[in-house]
């Protein structure tokens, strides 16, 4: 790929999904786009880019954007946010909800490790406490969503962050792979969502996980995503970002929760979406 090719790709990613792509990272772009080129029957990535330039085919553009959107994922990433969710936030929300389901959304669920980590904790909490949870998961990438919904992981993937007792409780071996118990994907409502789109119709979430998305977004997209997410939070709801992801200068709609890095709540003045 030429520098112009890489600039074209970076521009498309920023415009369509707010994804920050460093056009100087030739190797990264090549390795992410090579599988797309193969899948789409192009001899090389430069042919894929040439086709993009010539046709502006939306399907092809999204295949490229999705390939550059995908990041690393593991179960119970960083540990502490999940402890806070299970031990502090969920019991409080159950009490406040007084019988209505608590709504939990994994906004950029990738290949599913985040929503399934939450689902496992939710099952335990529902069994121990009086309360119900509705789980929602979305991602920009159709391919990531397909994998997430399949609930099938490699041995390497299930060993990243998943305690062994949860593995044997929730997974079965399927040849060389590990398949999650079907009841977990079945209880999640899955949707493809671009976080730059209008999210106002989704509103009323008590908890949103959107961890390590902002770090890979352009400055403009960060502010837009944060303000959209704030509007979709129910009053008193909580937003989990990555541990090192701040909101300074990006939004006035959220306030940090003391002593919990990466955890925010909605500033009371912001109106909830319908």
């Amino acid at each position: 790929m030429t520098p112009q090719d890489r600039e074209l790709i970076a521009g498309l990613c920023a415009a369509r999904a707010g994804i920050k792509v460093d056009a100087s990272k030739a190797y990264l772009l090549e390795t992410r786009l090579a599988p797309v080129a193969r899948r789409e029957d192009f001899a090389a990535t430069r042919d894929l880019v040439e086709a993009l330039r010539r046709t502006r085919d939306e399907r092809l553009i999204w295949a490229v954007v999705e390939a550059l959107a995908s990041g690393e994922s593991c179960f119970f990433r960083d540990g502490a946010p999940y402890e806070a969710f299970a031990e502090d936030i969920l019991p409080r929300l159950f009490e406040r909800a007084a019988g209505r389901p608590v709504r939990v959304w994994s906004a950029a669920c990738g290949t599913g490790q985040e929503i399934y980590s939450l689902a496992m904790l939710v099952e335990e909490a529902e069994a121990a406490l009086q309360g119900r949870v509705d789980l929602f998961a979305s991602d920009l990438s159709e391919r990531a969503l397909e994998k997430a919904q399949s609930g099938i992981y490699t041995q390497f993937e299930v060993q990243r962050g998943l305690p062994i007792r949860l593995l044997v409780r929730h997974f079965e071996k399927d040849g060389e792979m590990w398949a999650i118990s079907p009841r977990l994907p079945q209880r999640v409502q899955w949707r493809r969502i671009n976080l730059l789109a209008d999210l106002s119709r989704l509103g009323g979430f008590d908890v949103i996980f959107c961890r390590y998305v902002l770090a890979g977004a352009t400055q403009e997209a960060r502010a837009r995503i944060l303000n959209s997410l704030a509007r979709t939070l129910a009053p008193g709801g909580f937003l989990f970002l990555g541990d090192n992801e701040g909101i300074d200068g990006l939004t006035e709609a959220l306030i940090p929760v003391d002593g919990r890095p990466g955890l925010f709540t909605r500033r009371p003045a912001v109106r909830a979406a319908a």
Binding site: Q155, Q159, P163, I164, L167, V168, E172, K173
Partner: protein, 126 residues
């Protein structure tokens, strides 16, 4: 200056290569390492000085990892080490057997440094 006690980990595996790899990773987490190539040798080690942690293979020459673990848990002070299996055995039933015998965590080979770090953290060792 604060005194920080060194944690000890006994690596039990009949493969010298695996012991070497495990030693390198565990030393990065501040462990002092002892090595044994068999369950009997490991049990003798524990009777002489109980480690804080044991990284344990399943298939060993004279006493299996599972048998070692069962006996370890019967020894005076044998309930204290955190035991992490590290084995090619990856059937759910085998894993359940290990947990029933008193294993705290379980690593399925092949593994890498990230997996070892995750498992040590889950076992409360890192």
């Amino acid at each position: 200056m604060e005194f920080v006690p060194v944690k000890t980990c006994l690596v039990v595996d009949d493969s010298r290569v695996i012991r070497k790899v495990a030693r390198r990773i565990l030393e990065e987490f501040g462990f002092d390492i002892a090595e044994a190539s068999d369950g009997l040798e490991a049990l003798a080690w524990c009777r002489a000085m109980m480690p804080d942690a044991v990284l344990l293979d399943w298939n060993l020459p004279t006493m299996s990892g599972l048998e070692f673990l069962r006996q370890l848990r019967q020894e005076p002070g044998g309930d204290s080490p955190t035991v992490v299996f590290c084995t090619v055995e990856n059937d759910v039933e085998r894993i359940r057997e290990a947990l029933d015998a008193g294993a705290d965590e379980y690593i399925m080979k092949p593994f890498d440094g990230d997996i070892m770090a995750c498992k040590l953290a889950q076992a409360g060792l890192a």
